[in-house]
Structure formats: structure tokens, C-alpha cells
Symmetry: C2
Subunit: 199 residues, 2 copies
């Protein structure tokens, strides 16, 4: 019903820009409307309320990303290489859209908890991909078979997320994609000294 209405996407894109450039608190509905070239009231023809804009934004922008991710990763055989691709795609996705990166890493997190629970729902798909990689690695013998899958997932997601957030907070002064290899290396081998330091 709403997916192929042009105004729907117009409003979402305007919201990303307004929130990224002015911050969550200054992102009044009327400002988003103006940026979308639409009347305030029009917003409410497409979204239940202001929060719904935020969740929809995340659903639209992240939902398709997870699809792509699943697709690309399914074509790779080793767990280590799957993980490498995950890190690369995650970094690329956000490095190629600074506005979206600011919104997801900083602004969206200012939402209340009820909203964050809904956002977590969207994240579930992403985390399922991580879990799958971990399980694959454990079964193939690439990864430690004694791993706690939940913990491994939390390490992988926590590390990637913290890396991106730091990058954003440092005004994207360096190239995020250059960190793909070292981050992947850290996830596989940790801080400890390891024989196989080459990818």
C-alpha cells in the first residue's frame, strides 16, 4: 500500500537529511515536511505519528541491506570469508551514505525504549546472519567449537558497531573501509598472538 507511493519515500529521505543535519531534537515534523516539499498534514497520511517515521526509515534503509547481505554471503563457502564480507558490506553501507550513518549510529539511539525495541526487531534479521556465520564456522572447524553463539554474535556486532560509531564521532576523518581487514583479523584471532596473522 505505502511502498510505491512516491511521497512515502520522499518523506523518509527528507527525514534522513533533516535529522542528520539538525539532530534529532531539532527535527520537528514541520521541518521534515518542508524538506520533503509537502504539507505538515501530509505526513500523517503516510505515517501514524512521528515515531513511525523513524521506525519506517530504519525498516526501509536496513531491511533491503539485510537481504543483500544474505544473498552475497550465501555464495561464499568459508565462515571466515563470510565474516569478512559482512564487515566489508556493513562498513561500505554506512561509509557510502554519511547522512544515514549519522542517523543510525547517533540520532536514532536517542529514541525512547519502546521505539528501540521495534528497531531491535528490524535488527533481528541482521543478527540472524551473524549467528549463521558463527554456527557455520563452528561446524566446519574454522571457529572454536566451544563458542557461545550469543556471545560471539555480541562480540562481532559490538565491535563493528563501536568501530562505526567512533568513526562517525571522529567526523569520518579516516577511511572506514581500510579497517575491514584489521577488524576481521581481530574478530577471528582476538588480541592474542596468533600464528596466522595473514588473512
Amino acid at each position: 500500500m505505502k511502498r510505491n507511493k512516491p511521497k512515502y519515500m520522499q518523506i523518509i529521505d527528507a527525514a534522513v537529511t533533516v535529522i542528520a543535519e539538525n539532530g534529532y531534537h531539532a527535527a520537528q515534523v514541520s521541518r521534515i515536511a518542508k524538506a520533503a516539499g509537502v504539507a505538515d498534514g501530509t505526513i500523517y497520511l503516510y505515517f501514524k505519528n512521528k515515531e513511525d517515521i523513524l521506525v519506517s526509515l530504519f525498516e526501509e534503509k536496513m531491511g533491503s541491506f539485510v537481504g543483500e547481505l544474505e544473498n552475497k554471503i550465501s555464495k561464499i563457502s568459508t565462515a571466515s570469508e563470510k565474516l569478512h564480507k559482512l564487515v566489508e558490506m556493513h562498513f561500505h553501507h554506512l561509509a557510502s551514505d554519511h547522512h544515514l550513518a549519522i542517523v543510525t549510529q547517533l540520532e536514532l539511539r536517542q529514541s525512547n525504549i519502546e521505539l528501540r525495541v521495534r528497531i531491535n526487531g528490524v535488527l533481528k534479521g541482521y543478527l540472524a546472519v551473524v549467528d549463521h556465520i558463527v554456527k557455520t564456522g563452528m561446524e566446519s572447524g574454522e571457529f572454536n567449537p566451544g563458542l557461545d553463539v550469543r556471545l560471539a554474535r555480541q562480540m562481532i556486532f559490538g565491535t563493528i558497531d563501536e568501530t562505526v560509531t567512533s568513526w562517525i564521532m571522529n567526523d569520518q576523518k579516516y577511511d572506514l573501509l581500510q579497517l575491514v581487514n584489521p577488524v576481521h583479523q581481530l574478530l577471528i584471532n582476538g588480541c592474542g598472538y596468533s600464528q596466522s596473522t595473514l588473512k
Copy 2:
């Protein structure tokens, strides 16, 4: 001047409780005042504004923790054991005060970016401890000498933080302290298969 005024701490403790139990948005100044057994106006004798309560809260509760951390860790010789102690103290600090854990992991993050920058200032001390551990390990040969210290810090902090946040979001259904060993193990050896799986 303000540190030994009883009302100051009274208000901070009330704020932790009110915010943890009702959420940031429902934590009106008047509610905090009532919980502290104080008039609304009194708050403004001790705090510049509402945000100042939040930052002060974090400064008070976290500042002393970093001091303790530095102290304990300086008495340990190996980097791996230092890291183990860091994880243990971090988990213990939050597992022993659920209200504080909710406030730091969920509620405090709803603050605006200006405020988060101030919060990051407080965190700097904590992150310096992490950096120090990483450098120690690299010098002693315990850790991979090719590590990027910033990335290693982000992995360590990101993993710990994500683990605590997940624990909170799952209503603290399991014992956080039981995760100290596996998390430490993950940080040192990563997901990969490693000879030394015992601590």
C-alpha cells in the same frame, strides 16, 4: 562545594531510581524532586538544568569506578589477567546495581549529542585503562604486536558494552558474571580455533 552536600547525592540517587523505573521521558524534574523529598526549585540550587543532573549522575557513579579500576589493575602483572579483571569489574559494577545499569545502558543514551560528548569525556578515563592494557600486552609479547590500539580498544569496549546492553534488554535473565571467562576468552582469542582454550 557540592560534593558533601547531602541533598546533592539525594537528588542524584532519586534521579537514578526515577529514570530507571519510569524511563527518561517520564522522568520529569518534578518527579525526581518528589522522589528526593525535595521541592522542584531545590533541584536548581544544585544543578544547572535537567541535563546537568544526568551528566553529574554519570560523573559521580562512573568517576569513582575508573579510579578503583586503575588501582586494581595496576597490581596485576600480565595483560591477559588485567583484561580479565577489567571485564569482571565492569560486569560486577553493573550487575550489582540494576537501576544504574538501566540508566547507563539504555536511558542515558537518549540524551542529545552535546550531552553525549560530555559523557564521552567521562568515558575517556575508562578507555585509557583499556589502551594501557593493550599496550602492555603488545610490549610483553602476550598480544599480537601488530595490533591497532584504537581498534583493539573498540573491540574490547564494544564487546563488553554490547554484552551488558543485551543482558539488560533481556531483563537480566541470566547471571552476567558467568560471562566473564567466555568474554575474556573471546577478546584474547577471537572466534577462531586456538590451542589455548583454557584460561
